[in-house]
């Protein structure tokens, strides 16, 4: 068993004024990795590059130990996007027949079990489904061929809290098998908080950090300082900063060491609220050397 089911190294891609810059991270086998960042940070572009839907400018991507240009890995993955991409005239029964003719490992029994579990009708057109029902169907279709890796691109966006919890529980069940992994992109930090083992934060096309969730909770923190004090801080000591009206907030990887070295005040914020505040649309200033 490979240690990492996805390895991304030095990945770069430019589109006009957007640059995905030297992105590197791993998705360990048997784990759920939350991939977070604000809208437009580069999450979907990274996922498209992993799926070989886009041509990379530089870098290396391996899925299950093989370069991703070898599409054999697609038998072992399930992908869910932020919208249901199935034709509205089809019903769940039709989708089952379509996928059974695509995936050699498609399990029709499992598919119908999931449909029953999520109370989805088999004979109604998908066009008549609610957003939540469509997303549940997309997730079920991604799982019924028994993939080893799920890649979810904002798959829980727009779901109500009840459906979201059901879906998140399904992902947790999925990784009970330690050969199964999930790469879960979202800008909803509460979802990541609930299920992720590792968290990767991407901001303006650059990876800010890749950490275990527990390390993030216990070691990371936000410090608050004035403009004058901020100018004395070594840029290597913080990951990302945000200017506010009266102060500057810095995200630091080791809050205890940082406080010891600088006389700044630590904000008692939950790490998820910290991430939310750094992902907001207000002014953000990532270190340029990251």
């Amino acid at each position: 068993m490979a240690d990492n089911c996805i390895v991304v190294q030095g990945l770069s891609k430019s589109f006009g004024d957007f640059l995905l810059d030297n992105v590197s991270f791993n998705v360990p086998t048997g784990r759920i990795v939350g991939f977070i960042g604000e809208n437009g940070a580069g999450k979907s572009t990274t996922i498209k590059l992993i799926l070989n839907e886009l041509k990379r400018d530089a870098g290396h991507i391996e899925v299950f130990g093989r370069d991703n240009t070898n599409s054999s890995f697609k038998n072992d993955i399930g992908v869910v996007f932020d919208e249901c991409t199935f034709h509205s005239v089809f019903n769940a029964q039709d989708m089952g027949k379509i996928f059974s003719g695509i995936y050699p490992t498609w399990d029709d029994g499992l598919y119908h079990k999931y449909l029953k579990q999520f109370r989805l009708p088999t004979d109604k057109p998908i066009g008549s489904f609610s957003k939540g029902m469509k997303m549940k169907l997309s997730i079920i279709c991604a799982m019924a061929h028994k993939p080893k890796l799920l890649i979810l691109d904002e798959a829980t966006t727009g779901l109500d809290p009840v459906v979201r919890d059901e879906v998140l529980d399904l992902f947790l069940d999925f990784v009970q098998d330690e050969n199964h992994s999930v790469l879960f992109s979202s800008h909803i930090t509460s979802d990541i908080e609930k299920i992720a083992d590792y968290v990767i934060l991407i901001h303006q096309g650059k990876i800010i950090f890749e950490e275990q969730k527990d390390d993030l909770i216990y070691n990371y923190g936000v410090v608050k300082c004035g403009k004058k004090q901020f100018s004395t801080i070594d840029p290597d000591d913080y990951l990302i900063s945000r200017k506010e009206k009266t102060c500057i907030k810095c995200l630091v990887a080791d809050k205890a060491a940082f406080q010891k070295n600088t006389k700044t005040s630590l904000l008692t914020m939950q790490v998820w609220k910290i991430l939310c505040s750094f992902m907001s649309k207000e002014a953000r200033h990532a270190r340029t050397d990251l």
Binding site: H87, K97, G101
Partner: protein
């Protein structure tokens, strides 16, 4: 690939525009009244064109549903994806040919004339028109988007219309079978060659990446 062929054939029948079917029904009735014993042949031409148009409309619905984005995550290579489109068009030729037989039967029953040359011609036309339509429109869809194919499709309708109008106003419908049969072999060879060539052009268009 079997799943993708099933998807396209299923979409052809489920996604058929109801208004288009009503218009076709009305035109067939009009043809039976006006074109006499040749109504079956005329209606088969109409059916072939409609099936070609409907197939291209289905390809556009893939764009509307963002299916292509999803399809690229499936374990199917580009050759198989495009081949499934062409194979689905070949599959729908069967109901097209059956439809042309039924239309000729109606015309034969109404006018008590059984000309089996007309049956043969109608079946050939019902098979060749969707092939030709797909061969022209599908590469355009993959290279320049659905709208270019739609625009060219509309342009393609005019010569067909004037072709039929020419027989109606000039030599009459009775000259139509003779003219069609004299060009049938050539048309068949051109259609099949175009269909095969078009597949490779479509694969090249589909395989492009940003």
């Amino acid at each position: 690939m079997r799943g993708l062929i099933y998807k396209d054939v299923c979409l052809f029948f489920k996604g058929a525009e109801k208004r288009l079917l009503l218009i076709i029904g009305a035109v067939v009735v009009l043809l039976v009244v006006k074109a006499g014993v040749y109504a079956g042949l005329m209606a088969s031409i109409m059916l072939g064109l409609t099936m070609g148009i409907q197939s291209v409309m289905n390809f556009s619905s893939d764009e509307t549903a963002s299916w292509k984005k999803y399809q690229m995550t499936l374990p199917v290579n580009n050759f198989a994806v495009v081949a499934s489109k062409y194979a689905s068009v070949v599959c729908i030729l069967v109901p097209g040919i059956i439809g042309s037989i039924v239309l000729n039967l109606i015309s034969s029953v109404v006018y008590h004339q059984w000309d089996f040359t007309l049956y043969g011609l109608s079946m050939a036309v019902a098979a060749l028109l969707p092939l030709a339509w797909t061969a022209i429109c599908l590469p355009l869809t993959y290279w320049f988007g659905f709208q270019s194919a739609q625009a060219l499709g509309i342009i393609f309708i005019f010569p067909m219309f004037f072709f039929i109008k020419n027989f109606e106003d000039g030599a009459g419908f009775s000259a139509l079978p003779q003219t069609v049969s004299s060009y049938l072999l050539l048309a068949g060879i051109i259609c099949v060659t175009l269909f095969v060539l078009s597949y490779f052009i479509s694969v090249a268009g589909y395989s492009r990446k940003e």
